[in-house]
């Protein structure tokens, strides 16, 4: 793959043996340096990019993490943190001259504080395991990325993961109250805690979603919510995309924020139906799944409202789930959309842009034009409530040049998202995948303001370099000050 990563440091590669030995002194039972045993770490969920790390270290305590980072900092060795490796943007892609820091052994739930409705967990705990641990008490952890059975809360913090329920319940950043963070220099910091607001600058806010570039999270405090009393889903078919889009706008215009609101295009409906047989209508151009949750009285009321709005917008079919089993069937097709794509195509490439919802018909039309232009099929699933598109580009990696074509098609889709007022990524992160597209959304000045935050946390740029930023400028280059009339403001203050 033609992916430009930071130039490997020959000096570091030459010292590999000494580096492995040093790491083994810090974590005696958790260093992997054997070629074949490194293979499982060579990629994350973005499998098109692979690179074996120089060495893997699997610490078990915060003190070990701090010691590993401090040693790497002192010795100029790059570090790539990794959770479960489910990232779809290559956030955990290793470096040939880098230490891969796996957090899998941080797998304990440290405390569930029921009266405060918070859980304190280690970062290697899976997203779903948090809910499993507290559901007997009627609580749950709200963000539910589709990989929740495998992805870890540490990875969720790094990526600011979302899920189908995030319009109503927020992303990870809206549900994390505090973290313990180890900086590249090995300093252990606490940002936030069990209280609702941290003191001082909202550093927690910027750490969440920083894609492992600012520090390594060793503990996470999450907010838990009471499980909604009931949930009902509606399956609504439309004969055109415009009507479906109008229905979504009017539901929200009526003051209703559904727990989930998903749209599938004709191709996605057919692929999903052929795969799981969820009973989807096949004679529709767009299918909506609208889930409403809350107290029984509210659900009943809102199901009626949504049904009324759907019919007023020309819905050709409307079905409400009678029970939880039927609701699960409604969702089964949507949740199987990715494997369904895998069944009709040898490979598929999942995109993740967000657009203003009002631009949907235009974006889908132009996507079809691009599909014809690139000669590759595309099916569309879409978090309709928040405008987050997941086009799945269908291709065959065994055909010469098709992967490159798929990637070029994907880049055009993301540029289109930005052009209509949207963004490159709604929930999967920038990673290496969208790194080089960042300038379509941000000017060099915008990016420099972000990169200087990186410099404040990691001035040597050793933590997860090559991700997020198209060019990682040396911090000194970014640090130029404007000097007016030859005089620095506050001449009494030291400047270093």
């Amino acid at each position: 793959m033609a992916l430009c990563m930071p130039e490997p440091d020959a000096g570091v590669l030459a010292r590999r043996g000494a580096i492995v030995a040093a790491l083994r002194r810090i974590v005696p039972d958790g260093v992997i340096d054997d070629g074949d045993c490194l293979a499982p770490y060579e990629c994350d969920g973005l499998t098109a990019y692979r690179q074996r790390p120089m060495v893997v270290v699997l610490p078990e305590t915060t003190a070990q993490v701090a010691a590993v980072l401090a040693w790497c900092q002192a010795n100029g060795v790059k570090v790539v943190p990794r959770g479960a490796g489910t990232s779809l943007s290559g956030g955990a892609l290793p470096l040939v001259d880098g230490v891969l820091l796996g957090m899998a052994r941080f797998n304990r739930i440290l405390e569930v504080d029921y009266p405060e409705r918070v859980a304190v967990v280690q970062p290697g705990v899976t997203n779903l395991a948090i809910t499993r641990a507290v559901e007997d008490a009627g609580l749950y952890y709200a963000p539910d990325p589709s990989s929740q059975i495998a992805c870890t809360i540490g990875g969720n913090v790094a990526e600011n993961s979302g899920g189908v329920h995030c319009l109503k319940y927020g992303l990870t950043s809206n549900n994390v109250l505090g973290v313990e963070l180890v900086t590249m220099e090995g300093e252990v910091l606490r940002l936030g805690g069990k209280g609702l607001e941290p003191q001082g600058l909202d550093l927690l806010g910027v750490v969440v979603g920083s894609e492992g570039l600012l520090g390594v999270v060793t503990e996470v405090t999450v907010r838990l919510l009471p499980k909604p009393e009931t949930a009902k889903a509606l399956l609504i078919g439309f004969s055109n995309v415009e009507s479906a889009g109008q229905c979504v706008a009017e539901v929200i215009g009526a003051g209703i924020i559904p727990a989930g609101m998903e749209m599938m295009d004709r191709e996605a409906v057919h692929a999903a139906e052929a795969f799981v047989g969820a009973g989807y209508p096949l004679d529709v151009e767009a299918l909506l799944i609208v889930e409403l949750d809350g107290p029984e009285a509210e659900c009943v009321h809102l199901v009626g409202e949504v049904e009324r709005i759907a019919r007023a917008n020309g819905a050709v079919s409307v079905r409400a789930s009678r029970d939880d089993a039927e609701r699960a069937v409604f969702w089964a097709g949507r949740k199987a959309a990715f494997p369904a794509a895998g069944r009709i195509s040898p490979d598929y490439y999942c995109m993740d842009g967000t657009i203003p919802r009002r631009r949907l018909p235009e974006v889908l039309r132009r996507m079809k034009e691009l599909s014809a232009q690139f000669g590759l099929g595309v099916i569309n699933v879409f978090h309709a409530g928040d405008g987050n598109l997941h086009p799945l580009i269908l291709y065959d990696a065994n055909r010469d040049g098709e992967l490159e074509q798929a990637e070029a098609f994907g880049a055009e889709i993301l540029k289109l998202c930005v052009e209509v007022g949207g963004v490159l990524t709604g929930e999967h992160g920038v990673g290496v995948e969208k790194r080089d597209l960042m300038p379509t959304m941000f000017t060099p000045v915008d990016l420099a303001h972000q990169q200087r935050v990186k410099c404040a946390f990691d001035p040597s740029l050793l933590l997860n370099p090559g991700k997020v930023f198209p060019q990682l400028h040396r911090c000194a280059e970014l640090g130029r000050m404007h000097v007016h009339g030859g005089q620095l403001p506050h001449p009494e203050l030291p400047r270093i």
Partner: protein
């Protein structure tokens, strides 16, 4: 007073050097120590840039009055869900001057913050001029975005020490159709906090929870439920089944205004805003006998009016696992006691580096904090 109305003007002002104190309507002038810094009046950056209600997104000039923004969204039956508060009621002065940029810069949120999130949870993007005198954007104008660092969260509550906001993009939400308030009477601090925690743990979706030790002659613990009428009715019944002593309060709005502006506390005493884990709220007020106080956010926010030694207030807040901000005090006291709770040294150093990243020469360091 400097009154820029274009980004170009503002860049020049910042490039000329500081210290500069950024000011919207001045509703929070009385927070922090007084300073000699030149004031930059940000009200020139006003007006609605884009508002499409079904998109749930509003882009507005930072200098636009809060009241204007609230009226705009209310006309579409929407709201700023973090429940912003005009500090005029708390600090004196004419209400209606607060700007949306000031609200965001100070990270202000009211009682509904408990259930709907803080200001930072509703700031999607911004345009600003940093201390480098450079205009930049961060975030975006859609409700779901993880592209690049979440600088909108970082600038929210930064009190104008990173960048001068010129435009903000906010997530707005549908306003509830109706509200109902139920109260429990005669509880002490510990029992009140326990009852609020219990209510918050139910599926009744309590949107605000507060405890006033003295409201119309007695202690009142109040729970607010917002939403569609059939839902609010159903949830009130559900809560009553859980906590039978609850009674419906007809005049709930008046109580929530009192909570929002801490009007039950004596204006003559210094006022502190303490953020603690909710269960620690009764412990905190026990540690500071003779203080007047009220609990908001189910106990997570303690408004404290006290003559106690500031060091004692701060150590009590720390012992409770939280922190205390000095919100209202005499100018003499504000000159001696920092408004913001001091940070542990390593965190303070990191914060300093982040501030320098945006403002290397300290143009926005006025000594106010």
């Amino acid at each position: 007073m400097l009154r820029p109305s274009t980004i170009g003007d503002l860049c020049e002002i910042v490039a000329d050097g500081g210290p500069l104190r950024l000011r919207g309507g001045g509703s929070k002038d009385a927070i922090g120590s007084s300073t000699e810094a030149a004031v930059v009046d940000m009200r020139g950056f006003c007006g609605v840039a884009d508002y499409d209600p079904p998109e749930l997104v509003l882009t507005v000039g930072a200098g636009t009055p809060l009241a204007e923004v609230e009226a705009l969204v209310a006309a579409e039956r929407q709201m700023l869900a973090f429940d912003p508060v005009d500090h005029a009621h708390l600090l004196g002065g004419e209400p209606g001057r607060a700007t949306i940029g000031g609200i965001i810069a100070a990270g202000v949120a009211g009682p509904a913050r408990l259930s709907r999130g803080a200001a930072r949870d509703h700031v999607l993007g911004f345009t600003a001029v940093s201390g480098r005198g450079e205009a930049f954007v961060a975030g975006a104008k859609v409700v779901k975005n993880v592209t690049g660092y979440d600088l909108p969260k970082l600038v929210t509550g930064s009190w104008g020490r990173l960048a001068a906001l010129t435009q903000v993009t906010l997530k707005v939400l549908p306003a509830p159709e109706t509200s109902g308030t139920v109260v429990l009477r005669g509880q002490d601090a510990a029992h009140a906090q326990g009852a609020m925690a219990r209510a918050m743990g139910t599926a009744a979706e309590v949107s605000a929870a507060a405890h006033l030790p003295d409201w119309d002659g007695g202690a009142v613990t109040a729970l607010r439920l917002d939403g569609f009428a059939p839902s609010v009715r159903g949830r009130i019944e559900r809560l009553k089944a859980e906590i039978p002593a609850l009674e419906v309060l007809e005049d709930g709005a008046r109580l929530w205004e009192a909570v929002r502006h801490a009007t039950t506390l004596p204006r003559s005493r210094p006022l502190w805003r303490c953020i603690v884990p909710a269960r620690q709220a009764p412990v905190l007020v026990d540690a500071l006998p003779g203080s007047d106080w009220l609990f908001d956010w189910a106990g997570g926010l303690v408004w404290l009016a006290t003559e106690a030694d500031p060091a004692l207030v701060r150590s009590a807040a720390e012992a409770a696992g939280g922190h205390a901000m000095l919100v209202r005090a005499s100018a003499v006291m504000r000159a001696a006691v920092p408004a913001l709770h001091p940070q542990p040294a390593p965190l303070a150093a990191l914060e300093e580096r982040v501030r320098r990243a945006f403002d290397p020469a300290g143009v926005f360091e006025t000594g106010r904090f």
